[in-house]
Symmetry: C5
Subunit: 378 residues, 5 copies
């Protein structure tokens, strides 16, 4: 379980290191040598027709832009600075924005540039391990340009709807397309969060059953993963809020309604996230309390048994001494008493009963009737 | 107790899952197959007359809208997409709003649409278990349209007042009706919160009486339920605040006074909620402290008794050794002393008194007179 | 001590329940059957003269309003809906405001109504137990109307000053009168808070002297009472802030200076309150730390003593075995050695010294010289 | 150390009580009978000349005001209401402001009055104990009027610079003088805070060396003192911010630059304060962790030793029983075996080795090789 | 490890003390006697040419200012008040700003002065120990003036790019130069933070492996260093935000885009910082939980073993008593029974089994099957 986690963190750390080294000129395009080579796919459509085509050179894009009201250029893989550079030229992208596309460790953000909006966000996968992939989106007046780190995304159902002319996409502009992409990403956070809810649920049941054998590493893992998710989602909320409130030229009023809905979804995700974070903190505290409770119970048991037997053992040790009663009448005359043994047993019984009474009054025998006057919590 | 809770959480989880799956087109109406079929009930009224009627088809609503200044259409059950769709058409409801009606897992919110306001909030029931039901309300210039998940609500006293022409409802517009509904819902939170207050009260009494036998699962449960309630109420506060402050065309100034009062009630609920949350945290901390205190008390007792008897037991063991005093004068000559046994007993008495003195000076005997110079907390 | 507290909470709870039941029509006047019947007292004054009169019927108020620039109507007791209703009619009070007067569980607040300001706040008494009474104040252009739950208030010195024509009240309008009332209430919070300061002071001294016998229930009580006070004062601060900043027609600029001073006092009260809250949290933490420290000290003592004697007791037990040395030369030949007993004593001395050396190196004997290399906190 | 603290708190408490009693008329001047009698000192200056004079009657001030562009009247001691009243008349000071001067328990604040600004702040002394003295400052267009509780302040170097005509004071207006006073006060906070930094430093070193003998009362003291300082500085920050941002007629733009610098210093003080507060919390937590760590270490040691010797002691006790082997072959025949004693020793060796192996596998012997599968934290 | 830290703190403390003493005249230039003497280096450039020259006297700067659009004067070392004073005169720097340059303990800040912007920030070095150096930057319309505490900075790659005419610096104004400097500093925070991430990573792995031998001093160190870094970065964020948002005459719109990017980097640094701070808190809590868990496990083991053997030891002690069976039939007749020894062994077996059964039911043997009804956490 925790091995899985360590893999994730190492991956995160590795990705952090793909950054441009400090001291490099701003706007330098330095691609990660391990990144896959870009695959460019164009979907251009109007209400009447839809063209879908994989292209080799950025220069092939130009014709689409002129002919269709909306052109979606999706680039999977960031391994070729030259291709990115050409794309940047075609769409007049600022070098800083291009640099942010390549250095896939950005916070989610919305940046206004003349001619287009630049949006960065992250898609997460609720598979066996959390995988986060940066998605950079440029929204222009007649195009949407997206960059993904790798092939494979969660947009296939949406593409199918576009092909089938289902829903509003084909009748709407690039802003609605951008919204649909955002919405698909945001909705993918829900199953992930639900899985956390279920894990916390199970952990709670386990803790109630047996607090001391439940693995607290799991709660700690969940806390850390939620912390990471939070870092991804909070800035996205701010970005989206700007998109909804500010008058952005590329976004129409009708799409704004949809973006408001998307913002609403993010608010719900954040709600869930914060609730689960609090729940996991509560759970850890709860487990600690339960364990502390158990320690007390165990201690009490030990004290009662030890405290009863320690004096008894002393007594039996006493009469096990080898002082010679024959030498002097002072030397353990009890050993020669007629009722010596019963006397010793009786002595022990008296000690035991006295101690039991004391413990009972202290309430240490598990039962309730505790005299409160002598306890400090009063 | 905690089983009850688990039921609640599972229900919540189940309801979360009724969501549209990620990847679906926005605005898709996918009803929950287990949801009850809609029952539509119309109450239309003016100051002079009131008509109350259960209808089968949404199309039957139109005549009411023309004839009466206020028409309240209440739909219980969300199990038929077709009916909802028709209602949406009649009242010009945006598909996204309809989707929010069906996906009953929304945060409380107020959304402005042209022609009407859309308000989502939750009614809770203070019965044996917390039950939360989403209520979606559309407020137009001459209608109020409400959707509830199931039949059965807390509006019956209000309906009775409408029929009897008691209060201001009959003389007022749909905004006042909407306020009355909101107010009924909000006031239903109070008994629920009071029950938490009482449970916390009882728990505190119990903890003071006997901290180690009080069940901390209960405090944990209360904390979690309050966390859930909080998630429901905070967004409602924001929504209502918007309704009170912003110039909303469907709300008159006189009703705004009433909404301000309702907002005030929510503020009180939040006050109580936060107070109880803090109280339950304090209580948990208090119980832990008390238990920790008890551990200390028990430890001290164990230490005193063990530490006194351990040396004594050593001494009696010493004189229980079987070295043969006859072999050599060095071998335990005490055993043959005339006052050997009294000497041993005296030795033990001296050790006991020395230790008791030491403990007394340390303040470990429960009494106060502790010499502070040798203790670290100084 | 805690019994007192419980009384308070039960009272609070009882008062909460005096609320209008959920489902009642808004603005319904349902008086508490146990509430005392209203006593109405009028003080009307100008710079020249002052009239003070107890009246039976609300209708007797009218003449005063016309003749004097300022009329103060004080109502003690809220047990008669009819009287309140008549007063409401005379001063054009909104039904919702009247409802808030009767349901004495409001948050402090300021509400603007046409013709008057409505102010709710609470007076607390620093007697043996905290008593909180709601005070509702209506400030019009020529009257101040106050409602108190019971007879008896902290305004007597102020009334005396009015009669003696001391201070500015007689020369000023109703806004200055309202300020004076507020100021008297607010200043009554100080002695109460000071008593908390002193209790915390005493508790701290006690904890330093003897952490394990100090009653942590007291700290817990203080925390809860401060939490309650906080709920009363924070909203009052907001209300007063509004009164100071916003242009309220009934408040003149010169009175505004005084209200600013009153706001300043509230800020100081909040300061003290938050400081005491933090202090009490710190104190609880401090006590827990001290107790935890003591546990450690006790544990170390137990360990040292037990660990030294356990091997010794083993050795003496060993030579107390009854193997027959006569049967075989292998059976405990030591018992027959000439220096058998001194040998055994020497063995024990060696073990004791070795263990003492070990503990000394570990730093468990209380003295400092601890070799750090083998301890984990390094 | 803590006795010192208690003195401070009692002083604080005593000063709190010097307040006007609740119910007094606002603006009442009630001087503290123990306060020293006022000493009035006037420094009037222009760029050309400087006059410094101790005066007996407030009426002697008038000539200075007319002749010099800047007159600084400093009053040490607040023990004579009459003198204060006369000063109030001369400078047109509002009764509420005068009351705040006398009741030396104000929060730092800036209040605008027609004709002057009223500023309250506190000077602290980093001597053997924290001493806080309220300083009230009135800034007019040609005067600065300051009130201090007692003689003795930190302004002497500044006065010397004025006399020597060093720096900008002589060339500037009263606003620059007020700034210089503020700056001197604010800069006096730095050494105080540094002393806390050093104390925390030393405590940390001590805790690392020996957590269980470090006195946690000291950390607690520091926390409380920082809390008190914080209460003094935060409101001062707000007051100064207002002075810097708002267009105050008595403050020129060039002086505003200096006030901005002073504000900057306060921000640094707050920075340090909050950092030290967090550090002291961390330190307490760190000490508790270390102690908890030590408890664990001690427990483990005790367990290992006790658990090994307990079975051994049982075995030696077993063969110390006095059953008569002569009565029956079943009665402890081992005692008569030829290798009885070696057998018993061997049995003990086996038990010891088995337990050591068990502990080693559990990782309780201090060494690392712990088999993880059987531990719950996995 | 912590010794390193102590060095850092002492250095910090020493630097704090280099401040002007309280009471000094504002704007006094008092240089630190240990500070290195200033070395002034001028780089003046236009798009066509670049001149790089070390100068001896501030007066040599003037010619550059007239001839080149951008002149960068870098001063390493603050040890000569005269030189600084002359520089201040040349660039019309306010005395307060000069004072801030020398007193290298400022918070990061941006201050507007007529004619230039004054920016203070800190460069940190991720070497073996955190070293922080204050960098003061004046941005005028045709110059950038920087002050560093010591020679040696992270700007060399940037200078090289300037010389090679790589990037935009040579074509841009002084604002772009200032941006480049800021960017270099900010980017140097990343490797430092990453090293913390790795240390936390390693610590977590260690804690999971063996919580009780992991050194919590390390986590404490990291927390404190992050706290210090935070104090440096948060104010820088505010300063940069002002630079990006406010219309500053020296900053062009195109450079503003770059500054926005730099601001974005700071936001990421803060994100990482806060995440690591939370992670380290979680880690400490996690370690404490794990240790507490271990204590419980150890306690249970001790209890089980001790509790089983204590009664057995009592029994064997009992039959080790030396009561003389020959004196009376009541004196330990068991010793003479034919099956006396087997009876005693059987008695012990019965006791052992009974206790094991009890422990098994309590769930203290490590296995799960615990009867819940008798445990308090239910």
């Amino acid at each position: 379980m925790s091995k899985r986690n360590h893999r994730i963190k190492r991956d995160e750390a590795a990705r952090q290191r793909r950054r441009t080294s400090p001291g490099a000129a701003p706007g330098t395009l330095k691609t990660d040598p391990d990144a896959p080579r870009p695959q460019i796919k164009v979907i251009a459509y109007s209400n009447q027709e839809l063209v879908e085509q994989e292209i080799q050179q950025p220069s092939e894009i130009a014709p689409f832009l002129g002919r269709y009201p909306v052109t979606w250029i999706n680039v999977d893989g960031l391994g070729d600075a030259q291709v990115l550079h050409e794309l940047g030229e075609i769409f007049h992208i600022h070098p800083l924005a291009l640099e942010d596309v390549i250095n896939v460790h950005q916070r989610a953000k919305l940046e206004h540039y003349p001619g287009h909006q630049f949006l960065v966000f992250h898609q997460v996968d609720a598979g066996e391990r959390i995988q986060s992939e940066q998605l950079s989106l440029f929204l222009g007046s007649n195009f949407v340009l997206t960059f993904q780190e790798e092939a494979g995304d969660c947009f296939e159902p949406m593409r199918e709807r576009m092909r089938q002319h289902v829903g509003l996409i084909r009748q709407s502009g690039p802003d609605y397309l951008a919204y649909t992409l955002l919405d698909a990403i945001v909705d993918h956070y829900f199953p992930l969060l639900e899985s956390y809810g279920e894990r916390l649920d199970d952990l709670e049941t386990e803790i109630i059953k047996s607090p001391e054998t439940t693995t607290m590493t799991q709660i700690h893992d969940i806390k850390r993963e939620l912390l990471m998710l939070r870092r991804k989602i909070w800035p996205l909320r701010d970005a989206l809020n700007t998109l909804v409130r500010d008058p952005v030229p590329q976004v129409t009023d009708s799409t704004r309604l949809y973006l408001r809905d998307c913002y609403d979804h993010i608010m719900r995700i954040i709600d869930l996230l914060e609730t689960y974070r609090e729940l996991s903190s509560d759970l850890l505290e709860f487990q600690l309390s339960s364990i502390s409770y158990k320690i007390n119970e165990v201690m009490r048991m030990l004290t009662v048994i030890a405290t009863i037997f320690i004096p008894l053992t002393f007594i039996v040790g006493l009469y096990g001494m080898n002082f010679d009663p024959n030498v002097s009448p002072w030397n353990m005359p009890e050993l020669k008493w007629y009722f010596g043994y019963p006397f010793a047993l009786g002595l022990m019984a008296v000690v035991t009963l006295a101690l039991l009474g004391f413990f009972y009054r202290k309430g240490w025998l598990g039962g309730r009737p505790r005299v409160t006057s002598s306890t400090g919590t009063r």
